[in-house]
């Protein structure tokens, strides 16, 4: 759908993105994560023809989005800093973009309805809350039913309710089979939505894959928590012997990290103590763990 081939972008003396090879697959939700200035936004903008590659190519369905407006008709875009014309109403904004995208008649009203903005259609957008503006931005992005959505921090600066509402919308859109590529600093959002994660550091793609695959590739440990009242010392020792690390017992609760594949062994060793354990939970490594691991000096990993 969107293909980056040896893509690089340089601003003055700064390499914003270096040597990126990445295919955004049709129908997937791909999240770009990484520190500020790591190249996420540049990648998204290149797909929309907003920035020109310094090296390599970026194509959308085989077309160069910088030169070919028809490539951009396949994408809907929600920018990081969403601006609307001064004093324009929501309906005017959506209708204007509907004209540019040659969306069918009534599409503007339908999308405002879909995003719960019908009642505010005549209101000036500069009176909208952050959440309403994001929903309006998503309505604009969905005009003419694009094959893919490119979203730059869709829930940035939103309160928790608005952020969760945007997350629900994205989950629904992903459920429709739409390709979504988005940049985010909200790792919980990324974990909840993304099929694959691309971790950028200093303009380089450091890791790419499904969170579980990445965690396995990085050999990230699972976390175990278990109520061990009365047998704390024995339980801690058994866990250590079975290969657990970072073993602690606080207020009768044992916590430890278990290397990949070692969960069954640790649970078995603890079970052998014959004590009545409570509230066992094993948490697999998630996006946050992957992110922490990748940001530490680590070998390049593309799953």
């Amino acid at each position: 759908m969107i293909r980056y081939a040896r893509f690089g972008k340089r601003y003055g003396r700064v390499d914003a993105v270096r040597d990126l090879d990445l295919d955004v697959r049709e129908g997937e939700i791909l999240a770009l994560i990484g520190p500020n200035g790591s190249g996420k936004t540049t990648c998204l903008k290149a797909a929309l023809g907003l920035v020109r590659p310094t090296t390599g190519t970026v194509t959308v369905a085989g077309l160069d989005p910088f030169r070919r407006p028809d490539a951009r008709s396949r994408l809907g875009y929600l920018p990081q800093r969403l601006g609307f014309p001064e004093a324009a109403s929501a309906l005017e904004v959506v209708r204007f973009h509907a004209t540019l995208r040659r969306a069918p008649a009534g599409a503007a009203e339908e999308l405002l309805e879909r995003f719960g903005l019908s009642a505010a259609a005549g209101r000036r957008t500069d009176t909208f809350s952050g959440g309403m503006r994001q929903r309006l931005g998503l309505a604009v992005a969905l005009l003419d039913d694009p094959a893919a959505l490119v979203l730059d921090e869709p829930s940035a600066a939103l309160d928790p309710s608005a952020s969760l509402a945007v997350r629900d919308v994205l989950r629904d859109l992903g459920g429709e089979g739409r390709t979504i590529v988005f940049a985010s600093h909200d790792l919980a959002e990324v974990g909840a939505l993304a099929d694959r994660v691309a971790v950028f550091v200093d303009g380089e793609l450091r890791a790419l894959g499904a969170p579980r695959e990445l965690a396995a590739g990085l050999e990230l440990p699972s976390r175990l928590r278990l109520g061990v009242s009365g047998v704390a010392a024995a339980a801690a020792e058994a866990a250590r012997r079975a290969g657990a690390a970072s073993v602690t017992v606080t207020s009768g609760v044992l916590s430890c990290e278990i290397p990949p594949g070692g969960e069954a062994g640790v649970v078995e060793a603890l079970g052998a103590l014959g004590a009545p354990f409570e509230e066992l939970s094993v948490v697999e490594p998630g996006v946050e763990d992957v992110y922490r691991a990748v940001l530490r000096p680590a070998p390049r990993l593309v799953a």
């Binding site: 601003y11 023809g49 994408l75 601006g83 014309p85 324009a88 005017e92 204007f96 540019l100």
Partner: protein, 275 residues
Amino acid sequence: MASRAVYAVARRELRSALRGRLIASFGALFALLAVGIALAGLGGSGLVLVQDFTRTAASLLNLSLYAFPLLGLILGAAAFSGAGGDLELLVAQPIRRSTVLAGRLLGLLAAISAVAVVGFGAAGVLVAVRVGTAGLGGYAFVAGASLLAGAIGLGLGALLGMVLRGGSAAVGWALAVWLFFAVLFDLALIGALQVVGDARPGLGVAAALALNPIDALRTLALVRLDAELLLGPGGATLFGVYGRGAGFLVLSAATLLWLVGPGALAGALFSRRDL
């Protein structure tokens, strides 16, 4: 489709500009001053009289040739520097960048025209009703020259917006450019004349008019109003030595270059600029 999209962008830009504070306050102030200038004639008994079109045009000339380029510069710089944040979303749509550029410039030019129509129109109606339509052609010429000055300012502002990405930086530089052409250029020219110490300024001073679109348009308008006595040393030399036809030709060509040049350069930059 391209012309439909240009029209859509221009209409949106015009609507947005007309709703904005800048155009509203600028338009109201200019209309107020234009009507005030039309009323500024004094009768023998000390009564306030309405001036005729020629006097009104001559009196309005300096004000409008300062005001319209300033308005154009600010609008152009703000529209293309990314201030407001909707430029990115617009360029990401399936339309050509040239469509965005043309639509924005046309919409903003229409907004500047609206200011001119309201200001010159209000004063013009007053003069026509009270004094008659004698000298209307010269008045219309001044209005047209003001609009041209606004369009030139718009092109220069757009160019600044392309080069300077930050909105406030672009608008700040737009003000500096306006100050240069409106004030500093003439001061520099006067200083140069003092240094040269030549009572009869030569072709160089006359040619310097072409380097300043405000001076070029002011000179053209004064000649059109048969007010050559008000010409500066450059204008007097150009028209006195080389004649009316040659003077008009040179300054019209310079004005055309000022109109097309910055806009074309802005277009070339915009077609490859990263947003």
